[in-house]
């Protein structure tokens, strides 16, 4: 079942001297439960493509249908709410809230969703356990390693029960062991929870784990295997 349907997507940046076509006519369908890597050289448009899918940027042309919603039709406030309830994000630099503990970071997104305290605490504990962070609940990001922070970040992304998780180069700042651990954990979550993961990456190890690799160059899909 297709959870993301992208039709003839264009994004042109006009705030530069010469207009830049970062995404130039991508059409793509992502099915539920996919473990997909978007790859391509630097400047190929993969981050822009990810931002468009995540509703962080608006397309110049084309449609992004997530479920029955075309996110092009949503205003900025509706987009924020849409992201909160439907999309999970994992960033390259973890980007946890530094003043909150691991469990608070995970529960934070559920608080934004209005989930009662008891329930969100319970869900956050379960997610931290699933991501191998049992016992680290009350550590602040600064007290955790890079790999552990990225695990919290994944737990946070899962906490909102999203339709899919967008991960922008999630392993770029991790060492080999942490990368391996993180990818194994994500693959496990993909399998056990049927959670859809979409990565943008340069990392060969991510590509090796991915079941589908979409290669982008000059804003176009050049291969989809």
């Amino acid at each position: 079942m297709s959870i993301i349907q992208i039709n003839n997507l264009h994004k042109t940046y006009t705030d530069t001297k010469v207009p830049v076509k970062a995404v130039n006519g991508i059409s793509l369908s992502i099915e539920e439960g996919e473990f997909t890597a978007i790859v391509g050289p630097s400047g190929s448009g993969k981050t822009t493509f990810l931002n468009l899918m995540g509703g962080l940027d608006t397309p110049t042309e084309g449609d992004i249908l997530i479920g029955d919603k075309n996110i092009k039709d949503l205003n900025s406030r509706q987009l924020i709410d849409f992201r909160l309830h439907h999309i999970g994000f994992v960033f390259q630099s973890y980007n946890l809230i530094p003043v909150l503990t691991a469990i608070e970071n995970v529960a934070f997104i559920m608080e934004l969703q209005g989930i009662p305290k008891k329930e969100r605490h319970q869900i956050a504990m379960e997610l931290l356990k699933k991501t191998g962070l049992e016992g680290k609940e009350n550590y602040r990001p600064g007290e955790l390693s890079g790999g552990q922070q990225q695990r919290v970040s994944v737990a946070r992304a899962l906490a909102s029960k999203p339709k899919f998780i967008l991960a922008d180069e999630p392993t770029a700042n991790l060492d080999s062991a942490s990368t391996e651990d993180l990818l194994n954990m994500m693959a496990e979550l993909n399998k056990s929870e049927n959670m859809t993961f979409i990565f943008s990456t340069h990392d060969k190890r991510v590509m090796d784990k991915a079941r589908r690799i979409v290669t982008i160059d000059d804003g176009k899909v050049v291969s989809d295997v």
């Binding site: 994000f89 980007n95 003043v99 934004l112």
Partner: protein, 406 residues
């Protein structure tokens, strides 16, 4: 909401030193402002208390007397009128006065003075003239003696027991001339009083000004319970009718109130400068806290936090900084001001002379009126809220993608 408050509080302590410095600047400003205002209002309260003590909360005069103080606008004692006023609830007591400007001569010197006829015992209970006598003794009822200001004594070179000739206009075209012994020399706070005022027994002065009918008065000072003044002023005005004017101390001491207003204004200007400096201190902290978390804001909006909630967090941060400063400032200042309120500083030497030159008792008094604490704290909190406008605009105009790209 709770998590926003927690985040705001913890954000402050990400850079402890900066928060301490900002809070300290708020504390210093508040301490300075509270001391300054307490001292100002303390001196105003002292001045007003002393003024009202002398003139009463209000005075009853013949119509037009206040604007044209001639002896011909005096009136005769009216027991029914006095009974009517004294029976009003809230009226504490009344002091009748007869005042006339006369020439006072001793030896080859003459000086213009204000003769003030008083009921010696009743006047002393309120105004405590006897406590200001530096030589000789205070007046006694029916005694033909004078209590003169020390500057008058100095000018005329007159001493206790010497006789002073007074000459002026009597009531309705008569001439008032008399000779009375000086029984006491007094030193008042006001140099003007030392130079001008001569107290004497009311009945004796009444006989001097108009010997043909007793009971001549220029005014009756009315003293009332605190807080009832405005209400009583209206009631007394209504009950005395058109033949009398009833004038509040605010009119009688309008010059003093004017100078208080002017002084208050200069104090406010000083405070404004102080608060502008503090406002910039808070603003710079808020600015740094906002700009350094640009990426964090972007991430929070990306994962679904509405900008409004970010704004609320920033407002809480500003309020917390101000609150820390305000609470610490109040804790530091309140006991000290309470002590100074109970133990005002009596000035001596040149400082005392300076106070007296402004017609003030040489006493550095402090006020602990709750309005001072409330208004200054409110100003600091308002400044913090004002500083929060920057993050509000920043967040509302925030470009998430640009921040994420950085």
């Amino acid at each position: 909401m709770k998590i926003l408050i927690i985040m705001a509080w913890r954000n402050l302590w990400r850079n402890k030193r900066r928060t301490y410095i900002t809070a300290t600047s708020v504390v210093l400003a508040l301490v300075l402002a509270l001391f300054m205002r307490s001292m100002q209002f303390g001196s105003y309260e002292t001045m007003i208390r002393a003024g009202v003590n002398e003139v009463g909360n209000m005075q009853v005069h013949d119509t037009g007397y206040w604007d044209n103080k001639t002896i011909d606008r005096a009136f005769f004692t009216n027991p029914a009128l006095e009974q009517k006023i004294s029976s009003l609830p809230g009226v504490l007591h009344m002091l009748p006065h007869l005042e006339s400007f006369v020439l006072a001569s001793y030896g080859d010197k003459t000086k213009g003075v204000q003769l003030v006829g008083v009921n010696p015992e009743a006047e002393d209970r309120q105004v405590k003239i006897s406590g200001k006598i530096t030589s000789g003794s205070y007046l006694r009822k029916g005694q033909a003696g004078l209590v003169i200001g020390d500057k008058i004594a100095e000018y005329l070179n007159i001493n206790i027991g010497d006789s002073l000739v007074v000459m002026g206009q009597g009531y309705e075209g008569t001439t008032a001339v008399g000779i009375y012994p000086v029984t006491g020399i007094a030193h008042y706070v006001s140099p003007q009083m030392n130079n001008l005022i001569v107290y004497m027994d009311l009945e004796t002065l009444q006989k001097l000004i108009f010997p043909f009918q007793p009971g001549l008065l220029t005014g009756i000072s009315v003293y009332c319970e605190p807080g009832l003044e405005d209400q009583l002023l209206t009631t007394i005005k209504a009950s005395v009718g058109d033949h009398y004017d009833v004038i509040s101390w605010k009119v009688m001491l309008s010059d003093m109130l004017q100078s208080i207003k002017l002084d208050n204004l200069s104090g406010m200007v000083m405070l404004m400068i102080l608060y502008i400096i503090v406002a910039f201190g808070i603003f710079s902290t808020v600015l740094m806290m906002t700009v350094e978390r640009r990426r964090q804001f972007a991430v929070m909006i990306s994962i679904g936090m509405r900008k409004g909630k970010l704004v609320v967090t920033s407002i809480f941060e500003s309020i917390f900084i101000a609150l820390i400063g305000v609470v610490a400032g109040l804790i530091l200042t309140t006991p000290a001001l309470m002590y100074l309120y109970l133990n005002p500083i009596r000035m001596t030497g040149e400082m005392a002379a300076m106070y007296e030159s402004f017609n003030q008792e040489p006493l550095m008094a402090f006020s602990i009126a709750p309005s001072i604490f409330f208004s200054q704290s409110l100003i600091v909190l308002s400044l913090a809220l004002l500083s929060a406008f920057y993050p509000i605009f920043y967040v509302l105009r925030f470009n998430v993608l640009n921040a994420l790209r950085q």
